[in-house]
């Protein structure tokens, strides 16, 4: 175990963490703001990349491809929203149904191949792993910090509008929202569309970063997203009260997550066991608030 190899892996981990941080911000919107655990994102995390890569391979401009990726993600969110609100399917199951169907759809987008490459030497990409150690404007860490800042700025503005406040009220107290004339079904659909649009953006950036899109790219994505949200809540929950700062915290949470994973791999963990570790870590962190509440309750009774 050589410390230099760990250090040399850190820039890559940071860049990946920032890209997954975008994804985690999408998860935050459904999980924290709307109070819905949306599993669509495991599918959308491949859809965005598939749309972006296939469009660019077929000659589309980078920005057009990115916008179309976001729209594709938003449509996936719309479908989950309709499953949930118009068909009365529990949100978690609605997400699973969309996620499953997206597997086929993603394959179809990718010309029924499990993966499609996009070479940074041939295409103009926004982020690429190849530049991660360059001190230049195209360094993916630098680019991702800007993308993250723009996204957080947009969301901060949006959730400060009348519509955004209505969405927050829907997630906070549905009964109150309805009594105040808010159409909670529309609110949930809009929230799911925004969330999945953001996840698809992360997907498109991730595909560019690694130079390929893979149909299994998003598998377990929700777990990584939740891990970032929870790490943020545990580490920064007390200091980051403001909405924008909370989103910054989520992004940092994803970076910390990737650095920890890099560290664990450096310690010699078999890569194939990584998902097991991920699930266990998230399970424990999800349990911590529950255990805390139980303990303080016990203390009060004593």
């Amino acid at each position: 175990m050589n410390i230099a190899s760990l250090i040399s892996a850190l820039p890559g981990a940071t860049a990946q963490g920032l890209i997954w941080g975008i994804m985690a911000i999408g998860v935050y919107i459904t999980y924290k703001v709307l109070d819905i655990a949306d599993l669509t994102v495991d599918g959308t995390m491949a859809t965005g990349g598939a749309v972006c890569v296939m469009m660019m391979i077929n000659g589309a401009n980078l920005w057009v491809a990115l916008i179309c990726a976001v729209i594709a993600g938003a449509i996936a969110g719309l479908v989950t929203g309709l499953f949930h609100t118009a068909m009365g399917i529990p949100a978690i199951l609605a997400g699973i149904l969309t996620q499953l169907s997206l597997y086929s759809i993603n394959l179809a987008i990718m010309g029924f191949k499990a993966n499609q490459g996009i070479n940074v030497t041939k295409y103009h990409l926004l982020v690429s792993a190849r530049n991660v150690k360059h001190i230049a404007a195209n360094n993916p860490i630098f680019v991702m910090v800007i993308v993250t800042a723009l996204l957080i700025g947009f969301l901060y503005w949006f959730f400060g509008t009348e519509l955004g406040a209505a969405l927050r009220a829907t997630g906070s107290n549905e009964k109150m929202a309805r009594a105040q004339g808010i159409n909670v079904n529309v609110g949930k659909i809009i929230g799911l569309m925004i969330s999945n649009g953001i996840v698809a953006l992360a997907s498109a950036l991730y595909a560019q970063y690694q130079g390929a899109v893979d149909v299994n790219m998003g598998r377990g994505g929700i777990v990584i997203g939740l891990a970032a949200v929870i790490i943020s809540a545990v580490l920064f929950g007390k200091i980051f009260q403001n909405f924008a700062l909370q989103l910054v915290g989520v992004s940092l949470g994803a970076v910390i997550y990737y650095i920890v994973i890099q560290f664990v791999l450096w310690l010699g963990l078999n890569t194939n066991l990584l998902k097991l570790l991920q699930a266990l870590v998230v399970a424990v962190f999800l349990a911590i608030p529950y255990w805390k509440a139980k303990m303080t309750k016990g203390a009060k009774h004593a």
């Binding site: 009348e162 906070s172 009964k175 929202a177 808010i182 159409n183 909670v184």
Partner: protein
């Protein structure tokens, strides 16, 4: 004006748990009427308010508010006509949002919610003055999360929210039942004051007979999903708890279960 015609609602129809909650309720209210509603548990008081608010569709009958038939409208659309305060102080406000954000949401009841700022600067001042009238010190905590407030404070805030945009009909569903007696009295006095100032048509469910007699210009008693007593005008003014108990026994052929209704 409110016109309820022959409203019927059965829960769990055709099952062993079948419960006829509303059994043909008709009621006419004029603008400015303040009705207090009493009755034992399961008499249908809260169910009637929920039927008016559109929490679920009714089986039969119609609800007409201010000349508009709202029977088929969804709950959030009916909210345009209604202000509602619930028994549970947690229900009426969004705990994770600021006091002014809650008020701003209530201010836009029945209006299109677009991409304009959720709270304007002018509103902030308006809310500060409004909150000051409560005398609870909330005017100095405009950006505090509502989850930090006590039950009484939340209920007072819900009351403001329900009446911020003048509703055609105010529905108070045992809104002081979960509060301690002193706070309950304060919230009730405040309700009465707001109702009088704005001349609001109001239906208030209560478990407290004395309150039912003291407030409003009309009193309705429900029993087994029906209105069995309707007292208004002079008769209401001279009413005593004793009268009410006697009248209940006569109307229902049943002794009033005093465990379920507070006598004082």
């Amino acid at each position: 004006m409110l016109e309820l015609t022959n409203i019927r609602k059965t829960f769990n129809a055709n099952t062993i748990n079948e419960k006829i909650a509303l059994n043909g309720v008709s009621l006419h209210l004029e603008d400015g009427d303040f009705v207090t509603m009493i009755g034992g548990n399961g008499a249908g008081k809260s169910t009637l308010l929920n039927a008016i608010a559109g929490v679920w569709p009714i089986d039969e009958g119609s609800v007409v508010i201010d000349g508009e038939d709202v029977t088929k409208l969804s709950e959030h659309k009916r909210a345009n006509f209604l202000g509602r305060v619930f028994q549970d102080p947690m229900f009426g406000t969004a705990a994770t949002m600021q006091i002014i954000e809650n008020l701003a949401i209530a201010k836009r009841r029945g209006e299109f919610r677009g991409l304009k700022a959720s709270v304007t600067k002018a509103e902030k001042e308006e809310y500060r003055e409004l909150l000051a009238t409560l005398g609870l010190g909330l005017e100095n905590r405009l950006t505090a999360k509502v989850g930090l407030l006590s039950g009484g404070q939340r209920q007072a805030l819900t009351l403001l929210m329900a009446t911020l945009k003048k509703p055609k009909l105010l529905l108070l569903d045992e809104h002081t039942a979960a509060l301690d007696p002193r706070t309950a009295h304060k919230v009730l006095t405040l309700s009465d004051q707001i109702i009088r100032e704005n001349n609001l048509m109001t239906m208030m469910v209560t478990h407290n007979m004395k309150d039912a007699i003291a407030y409003g210009n009309r009193l309705i008693m429900m029993h087994e999903g029906k209105i069995i007593l309707d007292i208004k005008g002079e008769e209401k003014k001279n009413l005593t708890v004793r009268d009410l108990m006697d009248q209940f026994a006569k109307a229902s052929g049943d002794e009033l279960n005093s465990d379920k209704i507070l006598l004082s």
